[in-house]
């Protein structure tokens, strides 16, 4: 592994200070399920590792009047066990539940999934449809960036080297709103999405979709919001024509690559199917509320 210097600060200020004054490249450590593997391959190098898990709030999830504030380092296993979160964001919880194994979920975090910025990250489409916002702290203060704008490319996000993701805020959804996330993998577990789709829908009392968000993953350099798919759902009762149009919009918006896990054609097709099915599941969940 690389030569490491390790710090586990207990305040945000100290963490940002470490990031902004480091003389060697800095890596922020949450669960380490991506980072430790990445560092194992680099034997001739050195890194400053800033473990942020001891900073108060980084592993917590607390409700305020209008949003859920998620500590970015909370493990997926802690997150998926929270019944209060499951009740409001079932799609976001099912996305976290799909990551890796039980062991990986014991360490992996939503903030790490976001900052690692894999195109196939399962929680990112679900965060996007729920209008999640990144709170970023740097030496000159804090800024807020929507998750769909946070990602800039494969493995890349907009954090400067002296900035830290300090919270993810997920607004409380409107009444009669729910979400769902589906991914395609050739196995039943322990795999990486070949394509993924998250949908959030709001239904009025007559079952007409009054608001929707659709985001797709593993079919472009980053997870992407697909407004045209949402527009196909809004104003409908999610009948077959509307679902078909939303599926076509997702397939159209996808910009996938062919690799050993799937071809361009396959991914384009499947991301549409997943969009349609996730929309139905989200709508059924509204009915169940």
């Amino acid at each position: 592994m690389v030569a490491l210097t390790y710090h586990a600060p207990d305040s945000l200020e100290e963490a940002v200070q470490l990031l902004s004054t480091a003389r060697q490249p800095v890596k922020v450590l949450s669960g380490g399920t991506d980072l430790i593997i990445q560092m194992q391959g680099l034997t001739q190098d050195e890194r400053l590792v800033v473990d942020v898990k001891k900073i108060p709030g980084m592993r917590a999830a607390d409700w305020s009047d209008d949003h859920l504030r998620l500590g970015p380092s909370m493990s997926c296993s802690q997150f998926t066990k929270r019944q209060d979160i499951q009740a409001v964001f079932p799609g976001l919880v099912e996305a976290a539940y799909l990551i890796g194994s039980t062991q990986v979920q014991g360490r992996a975090s939503l903030g790490g999934n976001l900052c690692n910025a894999s195109p196939a990250a399962d929680t990112i489409p679900a965060l996007i449809v729920n209008r999640a916002v990144c709170l970023i702290q740097g030496p000159n203060g804090t800024r807020r960036v929507n998750v769909e704008d946070f990602l800039t490319g494969v493995g890349k996000q907009c954090l400067a080297s002296d900035e830290l993701l300090v919270a993810i805020e997920v607004p409380k959804p409107a009444a009669r709103t729910s979400d769902a996330y589906l991914r395609f993998i050739p196995r039943t577990e322990m795999d990486i999405a070949v394509a993924g789709a998250a949908v959030s829908v709001t239904l009025d009392d007559d079952g007409v979709c009054s608001n929707a968000r659709v985001a797709i993953g593993a079919v472009a350099p980053t997870a992407i919001l697909v407004p045209s798919a949402a527009e196909a759902l809004i104003g409908t009762k999610l009948d077959d024509d509307a679902l078909h149009a939303a599926a076509a919009a997702s397939s159209q918006a996808a910009n996938p690559i062919s690799d050993r896990r799937g071809t361009v054609e396959f991914r384009r097709h499947v991301v549409g199917v997943l969009t349609k099915r996730a929309a139905k599941i989200a709508a059924n969940r509204v009915g169940a509320v």
């Binding site: 592994m1 690389v2 030569a3 490491l4 210097t5 390790y6 586990a8 450590l29 669960g31 380490g32 399920t33 430790i36 593997i37 560092m39 194992q40 590792v49 473990d51 898990k53 493990s75 296993s77 802690q78 890796g100 194994s101 039980t102 062991q103 990986v104 014991g106 360490r107 039943t188 577990e189 322990m190």
Partner: protein, 158 residues
């Protein structure tokens, strides 16, 4: 520069010196001589190095040794009570749920974590929970039989 780490392993206070680039797995096996925890893939895929860290089942190869500071760690060495095997270990023997044995310590620790969280798992729940523990010998059938039998026996004992 080595860091001085104070931690708790299987209920005992333990101190060790480690380089920050060492994983917890390397510290356990190479520095502390606790070779019950196995190294399989070294990349978090196989579960041979499963340990319980502050109540969470994790792969020791994906934890830095320095992260053990002030933590509570449970390894396979802590599963039996002295000479008395744990029910899970007895059932693995009874059902011949192992051949080469490399995956077994990880599976024992993971099964313990499963049954502490869910004492009455369905076979499907057990299979999903243990999906991160790879076994290339048994085909899993005997392992799942041992796990389900251990769960039933532990429920009767409770």
């Amino acid at each position: 520069m080595k860091s001085h780490i104070s931690t708790t392993i299987n209920g005992d206070s333990v101190e060790f010196l480690c380089d920050p680039s060492q994983t917890l797995l390397q510290v356990l096996r190479n520095d502390l001589g606790m070779t019950g925890t196995k190294e399989g893939c070294g990349s978090g895929d196989c579960g041979a190095c499963s340990v319980i860290l502050d109540g969470e089942l994790v792969c020791a190869c994906l934890v830095l040794g320095v992260e053990a500071q002030d933590a509570a760690i449970e390894t396979v060495e802590g599963v039996a009570a002295h000479d008395q095997l744990h029910v899970i270990q007895e059932k693995f023997l009874e059902h011949a749920a192992l051949q080469c044995g490399i995956c077994t310590p990880g599976l024992i620790v993971s099964t313990k974590a499963l049954l502490e969280e869910n004492p009455s798992p369905t076979e499907e729940e057990a299979r999903y929970f243990l999906a991160g523990n790879l076994c290339r010998c048994t085909g899993y059938d005997k392992i799942i039989k041992a796990v389900m039998d251990a769960a039933a026996t532990m429920r009767q004992g409770a």
